[in-house]
Subunit: 166 residues, 2 copies
């Protein structure tokens, strides 16, 4: 990650995209959300969803995988450029999660993130708290998921002035 | 589910409990949250968590499985008693999710739910919206996760007065 000081409010970035296959929708739902509209095409066709669709928790889990990958890519780019890399801390949680439309088998969801707010952490000296809005759109441009997440990011002022990271 | 009218605000129920094995923690994290403190014991020991712990999304996914099972049990009990069973609709989302403590390999998390609020739905005639606080505690009694979820539940007044469900 970039350091707290280097992340501007309003910054927008793509997190990644994923196409949800019927097979993986059924596999996740069988393990964690075994409701018929997530595990069986025929039952889903008769449900209020009208067709097989992903568990909302599956959509979130896929977002997390893309998010971890995206953070790893940023670390690789910063390291390749010889820039110092900020640590990120644990996420204290999430707010206002909305599942706005179903994610159907075959849908490709593209996620993006926008920095809503930042402030130095009171509870963790040397860290700042970044608040981000994450949204996912399907291939028709419909928003399918939206939530606000907070994450602790290291502050640059922990690094000695000569640039040598601890 | 019971009908909207039959669910009292303040009602509290156990959702179920689950022991998180190291193997399943690593399997989930490899698929959806591949950070070293969720996938590798040695790396986790050196991290700020101090030991292998579950992805927060894994804890949520396990809660969802227990929740689906718990709802199924309630349907079976109502049906066995000859009582009508209310439908539940899709969840519009959740709020204020907090991961308060890590869930370590070997931890047993017990979940419970409390009805915080209920109101007839304006957007869906015949349905009500139930808001619930869900919490999970580990075997030491520490709260590890907490979130507020909303769900649409069918209203009894859709059922004809003679008790024959549509």
């Amino acid at each position: 990650m970039r350091f707290f000081e280097d992340i501007p409010v309003g910054a927008r970035a793509e997190t990644g995209a994923h196409t949800f296959s019927a097979e993986e929708i059924k596999r996740f739902a069988t393990a964690f959300d075994p409701q018929a509209f997530h595990t069986d095409e025929a039952a889903a066709a008769k449900s209020h969803f009208g067709a097989l669709c992903a568990s909302g928790w599956h959509t979130l889990a896929v977002w997390m995988r893309l998010n971890v990958h995206s953070m790893g890519e940023e670390v690789r780019k910063l390291s390749a450029a010889g820039a110092p890399v900020a640590k990120i801390g644990p996420s204290p949680g999430f707010e206002d999660l909305k599942w706005l439309k179903p994610v159907y088998a075959g849908d490709t969801i593209s996620f993006e993130t926008t920095v809503l707010d930042k402030r130095p952490s009171r509870s963790r000296p040397g860290w700042g708290l970044i608040t981000m809005r994450n949204v996912g759109h399907n291939q028709s441009g419909d928003e399918v998921i939206r939530f606000t997440a907070a994450v602790f990011v290291e502050r640059r002022d922990k690094i000695p002035a000569d640039g040598t990271a601890p």
